[in-house]
């Protein structure tokens, strides 16, 4: 049961344009969402997060939007740069028995390629 889904395996954009990465979820109990970025041969690194009480969170070129009614979130990168080329994962804390222990459920990832 894939509770967090990224349905686009890859995305290609031109440098300077906007990149929009999408993520859908099925569990309405998720109260936080995170985006991670991963370069080849490295571990994922935290990028940005959003609480379910907000609908937008911005950090420099990165903005995450949350649409709770649609169970959908998106990551916008403006302007896109070649160094943004990486795999992007969305994730949400998974809860059981009243505690999460910080466990995260990840989407499948989207490979972003930004062309110069």
């Amino acid at each position: 049961d894939q509770q967090v889904k990224q349905n686009s395996p890859s995305l290609s954009v031109q440098e300077g344009r906007i990149s929009i990465l999408n993520c859908d979820y099925t569990n309405s109990m998720f109260d936080y969402f995170l985006w991670y970025k991963k370069y080849p041969a490295e571990g994922p690194t935290f990028l940005i997060s959003i609480s379910s009480i907000k609908d937008k969170n911005e950090d420099g070129r990165f903005t995450v939007f949350l649409n709770k009614s649609a169970k959908h979130l998106s990551l916008h990168i403006v302007p896109s740069q070649p160094g943004d080329s990486a795999v992007y994962f969305c994730a949400a804390p998974s809860w059981a028995g009243g505690t999460s222990y910080g466990k995260l459920t990840f989407g499948q990832g989207t490979i972003l390629t930004v062309h110069p």
Partner: protein, 113 residues
């Protein structure tokens, strides 16, 4: 960068042999996790620990065991390696900050032949 190391970084082993991967942290974080990354599946949780000697199963725990005898070390053991366990393994740590952030190690690429 969070102080997390994984060893070995690369390993090739034969089917049926036991394998142990080590995760070491210098951040004194309480929570530690083992994930595997496979194409089309993203990152999937194998086991996690919420304290010394306190561990529990994740979503893909079959064929794996873990141990945590010290805060800084979390070991993942493949009791009898199979080809389906060929993957990249990541360790992560967390202090359950506000955003549930986890900090990941550099990964171990394991190939089971």
């Amino acid at each position: 960068d969070a102080g997390i190391t994984q060893s070995p970084r690369h390993k090739v082993t034969e089917t049926g042999t036991p394998v142990t991967l080590r995760c070491h942290q210098t951040e004194n974080h309480r929570y530690m996790y083992w994930y595997r990354q496979d194409p089309g599946h993203g990152l999937r949780l194998i086991h996690y620990s919420y304290g010394v000697k306190d561990t529990d199963k994740g979503e893909v725990s079959d064929g794996y065991s873990v141990s945590r005898s010290k805060t800084e070390d979390f070991l993942l053991t493949l009791e009898s390696a199979t080809s389906s366990q060929t993957s990249v393994y990541f360790c992560a740590i967390s202090d359950l900050g506000l955003a549930y952030e986890q900090y990941f190690g550099p990964g171990t690429r394991l190939t089971v032949t």
